[in-house]
């Protein structure tokens, strides 16, 4: 009985730790993958330096007044009726928010 309670408590704690981790920034390695994707794959429409192409510019000035969550949702869900596809198959909501914040600071000097 006592053993079972302890086990449950450990599981619950483990769950909390995982939840906290999900809200944190991606690992350094993952960050560099995300920036690489942004420059080279998002960049095929938005420009490698985010200056825009067939898709709109994603420079800090263009994003400043828009909410992180809305922009992150555009990344994960896409925009129906436009060429913007959903990217949720390869990045999470949290990672999209991180990417949005990174874009708002400018990605010029990122790797």
């Amino acid at each position: 009985m006592g053993g079972r309670t302890v086990r449950l408590a450990v599981l619950a704690l483990g769950g909390l730790v995982l939840a906290a981790a999900a809200g944190a920034d991606p690992t350094a390695e993952r960050q560099s993958t995300l920036i690489h994707r942004l420059k080279h794959d998002c960049g095929s429409c938005h420009g490698m330096t985010m200056k825009g192409g067939l898709g709109p510019a994603l420079l800090p000035s263009a994003l400043a007044n828009r909410s992180d969550d809305v922009l992150a949702a555009i990344i994960t869900d896409g925009v129906p009726g436009t060429p913007m596809p959903p990217w949720d198959f390869e990045l999470s909501q949290e990672e999209a928010v991180w990417l949005v914040r990174r874009m708002k600071r400018g990605v010029d000097n990122a790797n």
């Binding site: 690489h36 420059k39 080279h40 794959d41 960049g43 095929s44 429409c45 420009g47 490698m48 330096t49 200056k51 825009g52 192409g53 067939l54 896409g78 009726g81 060429p83 596809p85 959903p86 198959f89 390869e90």
Partner: protein, 391 residues
């Protein structure tokens, strides 16, 4: 005394000869874009080697190149509006200008005297003197009463000194007659369809075709009969099927024309469409590995090599044209961006962006025969394009 003078002259002549570049042609040369570094490599297909690197070309994240008619100069169109004339023989930049804020590609006129650039910002086409890069004509892509300008895509040259291009936002195709360079005569076709994303011209220079993103279908203009206007072909090719997300826009340039058949990437479908020239009807489809980006025919038309959009862009598939079957699926490497055949098709050069390599394959054995280190390679442009309409 006299003999000594003669010897001196002879030595001087020898020295001068030694300083000169060895005389050579450019028929087996080409340029490979290093997209992140903003430079190009000059490559030679005979010895499958790199000869030089030319830096300082700006933002080449979506660069393309056309050639002067003598094959000596490559005109590099950069994303940042840069237009750079690269000399393949002296291996240096001959001239460079910034002609707009954001551009996508270009073309060279039939007579080789004019270089045209298609611009996103400000939307339109600018035409330059191929020698000096001085501005000759400006064609703003104004399509709305309020003066709004459209991004321009799918710019090609056409016979009788024309440029043809497509207005992405406006859904229009324009044909510019450049017979009098300073005053282009422009024929405009409006309401061609939603979001035309690229255009191409058939190798004979007769038919211009624009692909639509917003609709399943393509638009055909017969340049021998402009009065007939544009015509929709393959209308509703994906009707009733679920459209898949497109992680990179297909390219229609370098499209695969093999005999009477053409092989086109479908948009939002993991298929190549087979179109019969003349009737312009779909005569078949080939299911492929992912969203096709480039479908390029070997010059003899016997094989089609296809690359794919992210995230399935590590593979190239080879299609046998007579049987219309996939005969090879090559695991080339991470992020295959472009492929280019040598003029007679014995080799194909493939850029593998995320592995910083350009691989050369023998097209008969389909084996890799060489790998060159290239920093984030994208487009590969061989000088044989100099002699081809639309490239």
């Amino acid at each position: 005394m006299r003999i000594r003078k003669l010897v001196t002259i002879a030595v001087a002549l020898l020295l001068a000869a030694g300083c000169q570049t060895t005389a050579r042609g450019t028929g087996d040369l080409g340029l490979v874009v290093e997209r992140a570094a903003g430079q190009v490599q000059i490559v030679e297909t005979t010895r499958k080697t790199s000869l030089a690197t030319i830096p300082g070309l700006g933002d080449l994240s979506h660069a393309s190149i056309v050639y002067s008619r003598d094959g000596r100069f490559g005109y590099v169109f950069g994303r940042d509006g840069g237009l750079t004339k690269v000399d393949l023989l002296s291996q240096r930049i001959a001239k460079r200008i910034i002609q707009s804020g954001n551009s996508i590609g270009g073309a060279i006129s039939q007579d080789g005297k004019l270089v045209a650039v298609s611009n996103y910002k400000p939307g339109g086409v600018k035409v330059f003197d191929a020698d000096t890069l001085d501005l000759v004509a400006d064609i703003p892509a104004v399509y709305a009463a309020n003066g709004a300008r459209s991004k321009v895509v799918g710019l090609v040259d056409a016979p009788d000194q024309k440029f043809v291009f497509t207005l992405y936002d406006a859904g229009e195709i324009w044909v510019a007659d450049m017979t009098v360079p300073a005053t282009p005569k422009v024929t405009k076709f409006t309401d061609i369809g939603r979001l035309p994303y690229d255009g191409l011209i058939t190798p004979d220079g007769r038919h211009y075709i624009a692909g639509l993103f917003g609709e399943d279908g393509l638009v055909l203009v017969d340049l021998w009969n402009l009065e007939a206007g544009p015509r929709r072909i393959l209308d509703g090719y994906g009707r009733g099927e679920r459209k898949l997300p497109v992680y990179k826009m297909p390219h229609l340039e370098g499209w695969a024309s093999a005999g009477d058949l053409m092989f086109l990437p479908a948009v939002g479908h993991h298929e190549l469409l087979i179109v019969e020239r003349g009737s312009w009807r779909e005569v078949g489809r080939i299911p492929v590995h992912g969203q096709p980006i480039f479908a390029v025919a070997r010059p003899d038309g016997r094989q089609i090599w296809v690359n794919f959009a992210h995230p399935k862009n590590d593979v190239v598939q080879v299609i046998d044209v007579p049987s219309r079957r996939i005969i090879d699926t090559l695991e080339v490497g991470k992020a295959v961006l472009h492929l280019e055949f040598t003029p007679r098709g014995e080799q194909v050069w493939i850029s593998v962006r995320d592995e910083d390599r350009v691989d050369v394959y023998d097209t008969r054995t389909r084996r890799k025969i060489r790998s060159l280190p290239v920093d984030k390679p994208s487009g590969i442009f061989l000088s044989a394009r100099a002699a081809r309409t639309g490239l």
